[in-house]
Symmetry: C2
Subunit: 244 residues, 2 copies
């Protein structure tokens, strides 16, 4: 029996947002590897082993999955959202670089990433050019994050921020809000979309002057509008056009 | 009977990438509205009217859908990919701004957008901070596109380019490649992902020095790596870390 390894995106939480392609691969797996809350989203069944791991051990997790597949396992590494957006796909390739070339098939299956699920609930805040920035400085210098935010503001991108705030980094998001106020002005719209598509979902849109760090936690995606982003009824959207 | 209006993303092409949520809403619709090739992806059935329109008539299409829903229709505007990424959701809100407040429910349902489907096939080129830029200047000045590309390069974002090249704009993408070479150097990796998840799928990754405008057409998403993007085996990926 020959093994395989798939990195699959489970989407933001709702079952209706898991693609049929991912559902099929989960049904054919022998092993599920991932951060415990994501592994818990895959139901137990005979013949399936769930390997739940802690947060921040992405490389160990990827190496473990590679070993299981090399031994003939049909292995799915599960990510929330899309595995290619601040998730497990890059960690797998980092692990691959350090090891022997795998003799089994590897595939990455996309999923609905948090910013696009959030944008859909809010309206269409990412309807024009935009960027996605991970605000965690676990894996990059804080100065780079600050520089990217300022350049993105000068480019007038809408911006989606992943991992805005955690218990380990309670103060940095306050600094991000200060920088955004300096660069974009107090009236710019900012949206906080928490736990979209799950029971804990909440949405909040305010001008930057009213934004507070406590409005975000690690389950929140924060979306900043461009200079053109506006509200119509309960919706937030960015028009397709920029006039000449 | 009360109508409703949904803007739904059909994903990049494969049936396995259409979410169950979107599939369910298509099954309950009376009217499908959209650009002809996307409407054609929804099968005909009794009780369902397909309203296929031409390209570049997004506002007319949105107004038509609003009228149908106001008359009690259960209407789905279909987009390729995700409706909030260079697609129909923003056009709907533009149409809403000009008309009376709707008395029916409106929802936006996310889909797998082209850049994430392409990234998954390539590996994980968007595995670190990135931006998405529409290269069409139909709705914005060319100078803004050029400015955004330069600032995004200075921010060292990976970049996904939508609508890189069309028959009406054959020369602009050549200019984009020149700018990218100036800003990022000839060795930077660039990937051309065409018609991902369909029978016409093709993938090509080259250094910028070897990139040619003809490598892209309107069915291609182009992904430029950041300074850290590299290849391992047949894969292209951007590591999660930037060292201090």
């Amino acid at each position: 029996m020959s093994g395989w390894l798939v990195v699959a995106g489970l989407g933001p939480g709702a079952e209706g947002l898991v693609t049929p392609e991912v559902r099929a691969v989960l049904a054919g797996a022998t092993d599920i590897v991932g951060y415990a809350p994501y592994v818990a989203r895959v139901g137990e069944r005979p013949g399936l082993t769930l390997h739940a791991s802690d947060n921040r051990v992405e490389l160990d997790r990827a190496r473990h999955a590679l070993r299981l597949a090399a031994e003939g396992g049909r292995v799915v590494i599960v990510s929330s959202g899309d595995p290619g957006v601040f998730a497990m796909a890059s960690a797998l390739f980092e692990a691959l670089e350090d090891g022997p070339a795998p003799a089994f098939e590897i595939r990455i299956l996309p999923g609905i990433t948090a910013m696009l699920a959030a944008a859909a609930r809010l309206g269409a805040p990412l309807g024009h050019d935009f960027c996605a920035i991970n605000l965690s400085d676990n894996l990059k210098p804080w100065e780079l994050i600050e520089r990217r935010i300022r350049l993105a503001a000068q480019a007038d991108f809408a911006m989606a921020f992943y991992n805005p705030r955690s218990r380990a980094r309670p103060h940095q998001f306050a600094r991000v809000l200060e920088i955004l106020c300096e660069e974009c002005g107090a009236g710019r719209l900012i949206s906080f979309a928490r736990a979209v598509s799950t029971a804990g979902e909440s949405l909040l849109t305010v001008p930057l002057s009213e934004a507070r760090p406590e409005m975000a936690d690690m389950r929140t995606v924060v979306i900043l509008g461009s200079s053109a982003t506006r509200q119509v009824g309960r919706w937030v959207y960015t028009p397709r056009s920029v006039s000449r």
